[in-house]
């Protein structure tokens, strides 16, 4: 049969300290903490229609960049796409919304690039798997999400649209090769 019991009850933190049992010291501590927030705390609220979420700089480390919005294809220092058309992203994509047609090129650093690179933003679930799968850091998700269109066709982004590097564009401004947060 089973030997002597060797397990012990996990140590529970002692609640018998006089301060704990009187509640009042902890209450005062809590009150001071909330007072600090009331007096000096800055509001995290984005007042939406007046304030653009893109302009907001309320987060010390610009955490909103973690938001997974629409993609860009990253350009290298010569302005060419970094993508080598390895198809890993389209293989990783659970929504099967990336279409890649590779073609050969005779650049000295690589010999493949996508001829067609299309992402169907209406099918995309913004999971970010493509970004994780990419061996070349060629595809990224940006925080951009206001992108509207009038037709379904417009929501299928082609290579040109994905390579956007307009610094005034909510997606294009994340094109810079090294930008903070990512």
């Amino acid at each position: 049969m089973a030997g002597p019991a060797t397990t012990h009850a996990p140590e529970t933190p002692s609640q018998t300290g006089i301060g704990e049992r009187l509640f009042l010291p902890s209450v005062v501590k809590g009150l001071l903490s909330t007072l600090r927030h009331m007096m000096f705390g800055e509001s995290f609220t984005v007042e939406y229609p007046e304030e653009s979420v893109y302009a907001v700089n309320k987060f010390p480390n610009d955490e909103n960049r973690r938001f997974r919005g629409e993609h860009i294809l990253v350009k290298d220092d010569q302005g060419r796409e970094k993508c080598v058309a390895c198809m890993l992203c389209s293989a990783a994509c659970p929504a099967v919304c990336i279409t890649i047609v590779p073609e050969e090129v005779d650049w000295e650093d690589r010999d493949r690039r996508p001829k067609v690179f299309e992402i169907d933003m209406l099918r995309c679930i913004y999971c970010g798997f493509c970004e994780e799968a990419c061996p070349c850091d060629a595809i990224r998700l940006t925080p951009a999400f206001y992108q509207v269109s009038r037709t379904r066709e417009e929501k299928v982004y082609d290579k040109e649209k994905l390579l956007n590097d307009d610094p005034d564009d909510p997606r294009g401004k994340y094109q810079s090769p090294i930008h903070p947060g990512k």
Partner: protein, 343 residues
Amino acid sequence: MIWSLLVAFGVFFILTNGLPPALVYAERKLAAGIQNRVGPNRVGPYGLLQPIADAIKLLFKEDVTPRGADKFLFSIAPILSFVPAALAFAIIPFGNYAGEVRLQVADLNVGILFATAIISLGAYGIAFGGWASNSKFPLLAAVRSSAQLISYEVVMALALVAMIMTYGTVRTEVMVLAQAVPLAETGPFAYLPAWGVFQQPIAFVLFVICCFAENNRAPFDMPECEAELVGGYHTEYSSMKFALFFQGEYIAMTTMSALIVTIFLGGWHFPGMDVADHSVGMGILTILVFMAKLLGVLFFYIWVRWTLPRFRYDQVMRLCWKGCIPIALVNIAITGIIGVLYS
């Protein structure tokens, strides 16, 4: 005579009916500040018209009475929670004399006893509301609330007994006057006024805890703990009946704060004032002092609510019966001994 009545009822009306909407606004703004949010800011400048918008919304809502509800009790429950709270305010002296006019609605000779008796009636509002709704969650909330109110009324009465022994009176007006002297003839305490909070700090803490419990405010908001009881005893209420409950809660809060100010914080008295000065200017000044103290206590109410989590129900009861009541009894004994030694 007619003037004194008019003035008294004017201030009374403002305190009981003008303050709750302002409190709702203050509560939402302060809560937002504590939680690093903005709070209401869309209706009117700084969202100041928000309470009015809320009131209009509530007025236009359909007044639903659930099937199977006890119609009579269902209708009088909100009134029962509203009226006693406002009534108890009558004995609060909110200022000294302004000319001939005494700034108090009723100087009853049973004073503070009247307040405790009337405030206890508020429990009926909650109990009836929960019972008459014919619904299980309000009923549970009502049962809890009644138990809680009855328990904490004991502590409250015991804390008051110590204060009555200290002041030697139950009349609120005399209580304020008793606090309008220095704490000691000489020594470092001579600069402090003899406010109840300095004379009886333990009774003060106990009384404040009881006020929170009596008002069903966090951390003792058992009757309406949303997590377990939906909305509590007013789950089934809508429209103006709900608004009346809501208003009643805030009035009860104001009344309790006024009691705290009167009994423990010197009422309308401020250090250095001449209590024999019965001029109108001094009267107005005392009203302002009283209001300032009142708002301070109300601020504390709101501050605590958005700081502390809710107690579990058994913790609430344990705190009362095993924590507060023994302390209150010991406090009374000590007060008695000191009273005998120094008389």
